[in-house]
Subunit: 171 residues, 2 copies
């Protein structure tokens, strides 16, 4: 099973940090890559790639202007995370049972209504307003059943967990 | 058990959206309030309060310049979420067993080293770089064991979950 994330509607400057968090969460919580759509932002792509290079493992990062093409080219199923969707706790088993490729779509300030129709599942992590970053982390954790916490990363940088303070090894 | 979140080192403009996401996640995932430190940002506080007013329930939102005072005045224990800490999966039961007030501290670009010492637990949600927003959502979900998903909010706005599209009631 491959898991890609599609981040819609990126806006340079305004979304810089939120979109970066989306990419880092996708990577840290076990997705295989992130595709950004919206405004093309080379510095965003570069910053995520730099993290991948330093912290390890393969992780795809790219820009695609035509988000519809990404959805239509997907050879698996589409999960769209939205506060308007069905509760994750009711649908997660169904999604887990589908063991093929998944594309997880996250907004974006204004998600085109087509996305709701193109998605196989529109899934809400609570029906309250919060954050696509939180929704993505939460969903990946439920999908991967906590296995993402045990994922080993082999990078130049490695943290040795501490009760107090920081310990980081560089190789 | 009361749960408050302390968001350190807010910077106006640069952190506007990330700090807003922290507040919304705290609320949606079952915390009782958020205290912002760093630069005083009235428009941030106002935007969160407006969401609370429209979407319901009590949720404390305030600014406190002196973050050390917030930590020292806390009559419960302090959990600091940091990529340098001990794995959440090893410590969550211990934290859950402590059934009194909790203050969850999240960074901020540069967290003062004192925070690591003042915290009762320094907890990592993976030892990879990602997002305080994701860490907060993840931690609250583990702490509240999914009960946060069933929390009822009584506000002017209410979403009726849909398989496709959006349905929102306004009262």
């Amino acid at each position: 099973m491959g898991i890609l994330v599609l981040r819609l509607g990126h806006r340079i400057k305004r979304d810089e940090r939120v979109s970066a968090h989306c990419g880092l969460v996708a990577r840290a919580f076990g997705a295989d890559g992130i595709i950004y759509s919206g405004e093309k932002d080379d510095s965003l792509l570069k910053s995520i790639k730099k993290i991948v290079e330093r912290w390890g493992n393969k992780f795809e990062v790219r820009y695609e202007k035509n988000w519809k093409k990404v959805i239509k080219d997907c050879d698996g199923k589409i999960v769209h995370l939205t506060m308007y969707g069905l509760p994750v706790q009711e649908k997660i088993d169904e999604i887990k049972n589908y063991k093929e490729n998944l594309l997880i779509v996250i907004g974006g300030e204004k998600v085109p209504s087509e996305v709701y129709n193109l998605a196989d599942w529109n899934i809400a992590i609570t029906n309250q307003p919060h954050s696509e970053i939180a929704a993505l982390a939460f969903f990946l954790d439920k999908l991967l059943e906590g296995k993402e916490l045990k994922k080993e990363f082999k990078g130049k940088l490695k943290i040795i967990p501490q009760e107090k303070g920081k310990k980081i090894l560089e190789s």
